[in-house]
Amino acid sequence: MSVVGHAPPPFFKRGPAPLVRLVFFVSLSLILLVADLRFHTLEWARLAVATVAWPLQRITWLPIDAAGDVGSYLARQSTLLKENEELRRRQLGTANLLLRQQHLEQENKRLRALLDMRARLPVEGRIAEILYAARDPFSRRVIIDKGMQQGISAGQAVVDDVGIIGQVVRVFPLTAEVLLLTDKDQAIPVEVQRNGLRAVLAGAGSGMMELRFLAANAEVQIGDILVTSGLDGVYLPGLPVAKVVKIDRDSAYSFARITCSPLAGVERHGLALVLGARTALPPQPDDVPAAEEPSRGKRVKKKVR
């Protein structure tokens, strides 16, 4: 096309028109969005990129780590003394329970054996440090410093010293993502500790949670403690989750609006305990006589044949 030795100047070669390129990249992004949101098929790509980018990410934590170190170095002695005092007091307060726990566990095992019930499996935990909150402003996630290498798998429950924080949703080689309870997508089956009323607790955004699908006259009071019911097969039963703070019984709606605040320091950062994957599933429906089966409630059914 061109005269020998005279290539056309580069500003004439611009490739496809900008609008064509825009349509191409936008449709590509939209395909990715739909593939990730609807079908969750891009986890492998995410894992690959995250693994490659891990050293970079570690470097970028340095300023925050340094700031934390300086902050703790400058922490005044009085603050530390006060904290020490507080911790000692709490330890003494729980010593009574701790000392008797072993005894109670033995007794519980014996009683369960007497009643011919399945023994509750002891659950091991793994202490992890919450590194930081994920930057994504649309969901509530934190990153912990244990991952695939330490045997963390998606679906494990994460607790702190007071109650449940959330659930591991994504695992990378050295880190894992925990979806907090207050996220809008997170639901957890609970029961009211006072009377055993079962319900589903879901995140409501802005650090609160909502007890869904309870009738307007349901027997819930302000101040009730909600604990996990264990019906989902993910969370162990009896772990404290939330406290009822506000009940709005409007007879115009068939459901009550019950707002709860989490008990654990869901939005605080520190150490957390990743509970082992729960393997004890409810007995098979085929093996148990139908009369013993509760007719209501969500059950985890798993076919093992």
Partner: protein, 173 residues
């Protein structure tokens, strides 16, 4: 056509490696875990918009797409969210490049502010149609911070292109 900002200097041609390095540094800055602190600018969007305005033939939507994917992984957000927003930002910034460089820097910042806000709006729409929660009005503060940073970032990124001023009375420019 030369950019006629306050320095009135004729710029040297940009080096490709410098563009790559600055985009990479912006990505690193974005990876610093500030959590949900409001007002932290999106450095990648800022630097990308800068290069799309100043070098629309070298940096464009392909760069925006790749950087967006990297941010999606780093942010633990949905794949394609940042990619979509950055591609649209790159397109708009490249379209603006003929016009915006004739203005002084403060007015340039006013020109790019709607681009950043639009980018955040695109991200918000992409997430909220899928049922995510509203991140709060304060989240949009980061666009304003980015627009405020347009002035210093312009000088910072153009430093390698500045030439020493030689006063020559016989030359018209």
């Amino acid at each position: 056509m030369q950019p006629t900002h306050a320095s009135r200097r004729i710029l040297l041609p940009v080096r490709n490696w410098f563009i790559v390095v600055t985009l990479f540094l912006a990505l690193l800055l974005n990876l610093i875990p500030f959590g949900r602190l409001p007002g932290i600018p999106d450095w990648v969007a800022l630097v990308l918009a800068f290069w799309c305005v100043h070098q629309p033939l070298k940096v464009g939507m392909a760069a925006g797409f790749v950087l967006g994917l990297a941010m999606d992984v780093a942010d633990a957000s949905v794949m394609g969210q940042h990619a979509l927003a950055y591609v649209l930002l790159a397109f708009a910034a490249a379209g603006l490049s003929r016009r915006v460089l004739w203005f002084p820097l403060s007015q340039q910042a006013l020109h790019v502010l709607p681009l950043f806000l639009g980018m955040q709006l695109v991200m918000m729409v992409a997430r909220m149609v899928s049922g995510a929660e509203f991140p709060g009005v304060l989240w949009f503060l980061s666009s304003f911070t980015a627009a405020l940073l347009w002035h210093p970032v312009t000088y910072l990124l153009l430093i390698p292109q500045f030439r020493p001023e030689d006063k020559d009375v016989h030359r018209p420019i």
